[in-house]
C-alpha cells in the first residue's frame, strides 16, 4: 500500500512534466519594435553579452546589460546573455567556448565586458576573425597603446572617461566630509583602478582645498583593495568587513570602486545605527537606491549610446575596430541618449554642497578646472607631471602608481 503511494508521488512530477511538455511551445516572442534591423542572413541583429558578475548586481555588469538592452531595443535586435563568467563562479566556462556558442546561435556582435576577460577575448577574436567584437575597458585597438594588437581586425574597445565621474565623486566626498577622512573601497590593482583612485583623490583634494579652503594636510585619503572586481568568498577580502574597518577608523565618506553595492548598503546600516556617514557607490545609475539617505551621488556608465552606435555599424556593415574612450556629454552629463558617463547626485548631499558640486562640474565642463595638471607626484615622490605639464591620454590610461597624498598599496613595479 505504502509502496503504491510512493510510486504515485514519484510519478506525479513525471505526469506534470508530460503536461508541461505538451504545452511547452508557448514561449512568448519578445515584442519587436517597428524598425527591426535585419542582418544579411535575413535574421534580426543578435548581440552576445558576456558579463563578469551577476546580471542584477546593481553595478558594473547590470550597467553593461542595460546598455546592450538599449541598443537591442532601438534596433529590434535580440540579446544572448551569459553572466558570472569568471574562474571562481564558472570554472569550466572559457570565453572562446562562450563566443563560439553565441556565434552558433547567430550572434552578429559580441561584447566581452571585463578587464578580466583579456586573455579569453583576444583568443576568441583571433579564432573568429569575421565576427565583430568589443572588449570593454580594453586597449587592444589603441594604436598608441601598450596592448595594441593590429592583427585583430574585429575587436574594438569602448570605455567611458570615468576619470571625470570619479573627480566629481571625490569632490562630493570632500565637500561633505566632517572628519576629513575619505576611504576608497578598491577592487584589484591595475592601470585602470589606479587611474580612478587618483582621479577621485584629485577631485577630493581640489574641493577640500580650493572650495572649502582647508589645508591639504588635514585631508586623509586611503584605499584598501579587496583583490577582485567583486566579493569572492574565501578569495577576496570581504568588502563589507573592509567598510566596517573604514568606519571604525574614523572615515565618514566611503567611495566605492568595486562592481557591487556593499559600500552603500553597509553604510546605510551604520547610519541607521546613528552614525553620520556617507557613501558614493559606482557604476550603475540607480545604485543610490540601496540607501538613498546616505548617498552623496553615483558616478555611472551609460553604455547604451556607444553600444547602439557599434550595433548600428555592424548592421550597416561599417564596423571598424576602434579604440573609443568616451567622455561625458558636458551639455547634460545625465542625458541617457548622449552621455557615456554621468553623475547623479544623491539625497545625502546637502543643498549647499549640491550647488558647490554643480559649480565644480561646470568648471570641469568648460575646462576652467583641469586636474591632470602638474606638479603632481607619485607616492614615492617621483614626478608624474612637472609644474605646468598636462597629462597625456597615455599617461592617464596607463597609470603606474598612486599619487602623493593617498595612503595604500599601489602594486607598482
Amino acid at each position: 500500500m505504502r509502496l503504491k503511494r510512493v510510486i504515485l508521488l514519484m510519478l506525479a512530477p513525471a505526469l506534470l512534466l508530460l503536461g508541461a511538455a505538451c504545452s511547452s511551445d508557448d514561449e512568448a516572442a519578445p515584442a519587436t519594435p517597428a524598425v527591426a534591423a535585419t542582418m544579411a542572413d535575413g535574421e534580426p541583429l543578435k548581440i552576445g553579452m558576456i558579463l563578469v558578475g551577476p546580471r542584477d548586481d546593481r553595478g558594473w555588469s547590470q550597467a553593461h546589460l542595460e546598455g546592450a538592452q538599449y541598443a537591442a531595443n532601438a534596433l529590434g535586435g535580440e540579446l544572448i546573455v551569459i553572466d558570472k563568467v569568471n574562474p571562481a563562479d564558472s570554472p569550466n566556462v572559457t570565453i572562446p567556448q562562450v563566443v563560439e556558442d553565441m556565434i552558433e546561435q547567430g550572434a552578429d556582435l559580441i561584447f566581452a565586458t571585463s578587464d578580466d576577460m583579456r586573455d579569453g577575448i583576444l583568443e576568441a577574436a583571433a579564432l573568429f576573425p569575421d565576427v565583430p567584437m568589443i572588449w570593454a575597458s580594453g586597449d587592444n585597438a589603441w594604436a598608441d597603446g601598450k596592448g595594441h594588437r593590429p592583427d585583430l581586425a574585429n575587436l574594438g574597445n569602448i570605455m567611458g572617461e570615468m576619470e571625470y565621474g570619479k573627480m566629481i565623486a571625490g569632490c562630493a566626498a570632500a565637500l561633505q566630509s566632517e572628519s576629513g577622512q575619505i576611504s576608497y573601497l578598491g577592487p584589484l590593482v591595475n592601470d585602470e583602478t589606479r587611474r580612478l583612485v587618483n582621479s577621485t583623490y584629485l577631485g577630493a583634494r581640489h574641493c577640500w582645498t580650493e572650495v572649502r579652503g582647508n589645508d591639504v594636510t588635514d585631508l586623509a585619503f586611503n584605499v584598501t583593495w579587496i583583490g577582485f572586481w567583486f566579493n569572492i568568498p574565501g578569495v577576496t577580502l570581504d568588502p563589507t568587513q573592509v567598510v566596517n574597518e573604514f568606519h571604525a577608523n574614523g572615515t565618514d565618506v566611503i567611495v566605492s570602486g568595486i562592481d557591487t553595492t556593499e559600500a552603500i548598503v553597509r553604510t546605510g546600516q551604520v547610519a541607521a545605527e546613528g552614525r553620520t556617514v556617507w557613501a558614493v557607490p559606482y557604476d550603475y545609475e540607480a545604485a543610490c537606491d540601496q540607501a538613498p539617505e546616505v548617498c552623496l551621488g553615483v558616478p555611472y556608465f551609460h553604455w547604451g549610446p556607444s553600444y547602439l552606435e557599434t550595433a548600428r555599424a555592424v548592421v550597416d556593415g561599417t564596423f571598424a575596430p576602434t579604440f573609443r574612450w568616451i567622455g561625458p556629454d558636458w551639455s547634460d552629463i545625465n542625458n541617457p541618449d548622449t552621455t557615456a558617463i554621468g553623475f547623479l547626485k544623491g539625497d545625502g548631499l546637502t543643498e549647499e554642497n549640491a550647488e558647490l558640486l554643480d559649480t565644480f562640474i561646470a568648471g570641469l565642463a568648460d575646462g576652467s578646472i583641469s586636474l591632470w595638471q602638474g606638479p603632481l607626484n607619485f607616492q614615492d615622490g617621483s614626478p608624474l607631471l612637472a609644474a605646468g605639464e598636462t597629462a597625456t591620454p597615455l599617461q592617464i590610461w596607463y597609470m603606474p602608481a598612486l599619487l602623493q597624498g593617498i595612503e595604500g598599496a599601489a602594486a607598482a613595479n
Binding site: 513525471a14 586573455d119 591595475n190 583583490g227 578569495v235
Partner: protein, 353 residues
C-alpha cells in the same frame, strides 16, 4: 553465475532508477522556473554532447573530476574521509605552475615535469595530512579542511605577491604560461588527449589496484576493520599512509591538468570544486571507481550542458547549480530509500525464518 548477475542487478537497479527520477525532479524544478522540460533536456544533451567540440569540453570537465574520484576511492577504501582532496588538487596546481614558470627546457620536458611536480605536490600535501592523522591523531576531515584553507591561502598569496602580473594585483590569476607548454589540444575536439588519457589511466589503474593486487586487498582489509587487519598482519599505519600518498598524487595530477590544459595559468579557484563534487560522485557510486567514472561523466554533461540553459533559455545562471544540487540530493534520497527497503525486506525475511 545467474545469482551473481541477479545480485549485481539488485544493487544496480536503485541507481538506475534513481538517476532518471533525479533528472525528472530536476527538470520539474526548472519547469517551475519557466524552462520547458523537453527543451531543457535537449539543450543539456546538445550542449554537452551535441558536437565534437562539445564532447571535448565535457571530457575536459570529466578528466579532473575522474582523477579526483580515483583519488577519493583510494582513501575511502582505506576507511578515510579525504575531504582535503581540494587542497591536494590546489597543491598539485601550485607545484605544476612553479615548474611552468621557472623551468626553461624543451616543452615536452616542461610538461612532463609539470605532471611530476603536480603529482609530488599533491602527494606531499596529502602526506602531511597523513602524518597529522596517523601520527598526530588529528581526524582527517579536520586536518583536510585546514590544509585546504592553507593551500588556497597560498595560491592567493602567490597570485597577489610573487607571481603577480606586472603592475597588477588581482586574484584573477597569474600571467598565462608560455603557449608552448600548454598541454597540446586536438583542435577538432578541443580536447587535451593527455588530460583525458590520465583520467582514464587513473580510473583503470585504481580499479585494478584495488581489485587485483595484494596491496588492494590489504587496503580494503584496513578500511573494513583496522584492528582486525592489524591482527592479520597488515601494517595498517603504513597502508593508511600509502592511501593518503596515492590519493594526493592523483589529486595533484588533477591540479596539474587544470593549470596545464584548462586555465593555462594559476587562479585561486583552480580546483573548481572538482574535489567536493568528486566526494558526492564517489558517495553516489558507493565508493566503486567503475561506477564513479560514468557518474562523473553524467555530472560533466550536466555541468557543461547547463551553460546552455542561460544562453538559450535566458534562465538565471544559479539555476544550473541548483539543478545539479537537486540531482545529487534526489539520487542520495532514492539510494537511501532503496537501502531502507532492503533492510526492511531483510528484517521481514529474518522474522519469517
Amino acid at each position: 553465475m545467474i545469482t551473481r548477475a541477479a545480485e549485481t542487478l539488485g544493487t544496480l537497479a536503485p541507481r538506475l532508477i534513481a538517476v532518471p527520477v533525479a533528472l525528472a525532479v530536476g527538470l520539474l524544478l526548472l519547469w517551475v522556473a519557466d524552462a520547458p522540460p523537453l527543451q531543457t533536456l535537449r539543450l543539456l544533451i546538445e550542449g554537452s554532447l551535441g558536437s565534437q567540440q562539445r564532447i571535448g569540453d565535457t571530457l575536459m570537465v570529466w578528466a579532473p573530476l575522474a582523477l579526483a574520484c580515483a583519488a577519493l576511492v583510494v582513501t575511502f577504501t582505506a576507511g578515510l574521509w579525504n575531504i582535503g582532496v581540494e587542497g591536494q588538487i590546489v597543491a598539485g596546481a601550485i607545484a605544476a605552475t612553479w615548474v611552468a614558470r621557472e623551468l626553461s627546457a624543451p616543452p615536452a620536458v616542461v610538461m612532463a615535469s609539470m605532471l611530476v611536480a603536480g603529482t609530488a605536490g599533491g602527494a606531499a600535501w596529502a602526506g602531511l595530512l597523513g602524518v597529522l592523522n596517523v601520527r598526530g591523531g588529528v581526524h582527517e576531515i579536520f586536518g583536510g579542511l585546514g590544509l585546504t584553507f592553507v593551500a588556497t591561502g597560498a595560491v592567493i598569496y602567490l597570485v597577489l605577491g610573487p607571481w603577480k602580473r606586472a603592475g597588477v594585483a588581482s586574484t584573477s590569476g597569474t600571467d598565462l604560461f608560455p603557449r608552448e607548454v600548454w598541454f597540446p589540444t586536438m583542435a577538432a575536439l578541443r580536447v587535451s588527449p593527455l588530460a583525458v588519457g590520465l583520467g582514464v589511466i587513473a580510473v583503470v589503474g585504481v580499479f585494478l589496484l584495488l581489485r587485483r593486487t595484494r596491496f588492494g586487498l590489504r587496503l580494503r582489509a584496513t578500511g573494513q576493520g583496522r584492528a582486525a587487519a592489524a591482527r592479520l598482519g597488515v601494517p595498517t599505519e603504513r597502508y593508511l599512509m600509502y592511501a593518503f600518498l596515492l590519493s594526493g598524487a592523483l589529486a595533484g595530477i588533477a591540479g596539474a591538468v587544470l593549470v596545464g590544459a584548462q586555465h593555462h595559468k594559476l587562479v585561486p579557484s583552480v580546483s573548481g570544486g572538482y574535489g567536493f563534487l568528486g566526494i558526492l560522485v564517489v558517495l553516489l557510486a558507493s565508493y566503486r571507481i567503475h561506477w564513479a567514472a560514468p557518474i562523473a561523466l553524467f555530472f560533466a554533461i550536466i555541468a557543461n550542458g547547463s551553460v546552455q540553459l542561460q544562453l538559450r533559455l535566458d534562465l538565471h545562471s544559479s539555476l544550473g547549480g541548483v539543478f545539479q544540487g537537486v540531482l545529487v540530493l534526489a539520487v542520495l534520497l532514492a539510494g537511501g530509500w532503496q537501502m531502507r527497503r532492503a533492510r526492511e525486506r531483510d528484517r521481514k525475511a529474518a522474522a519469517r525464518a
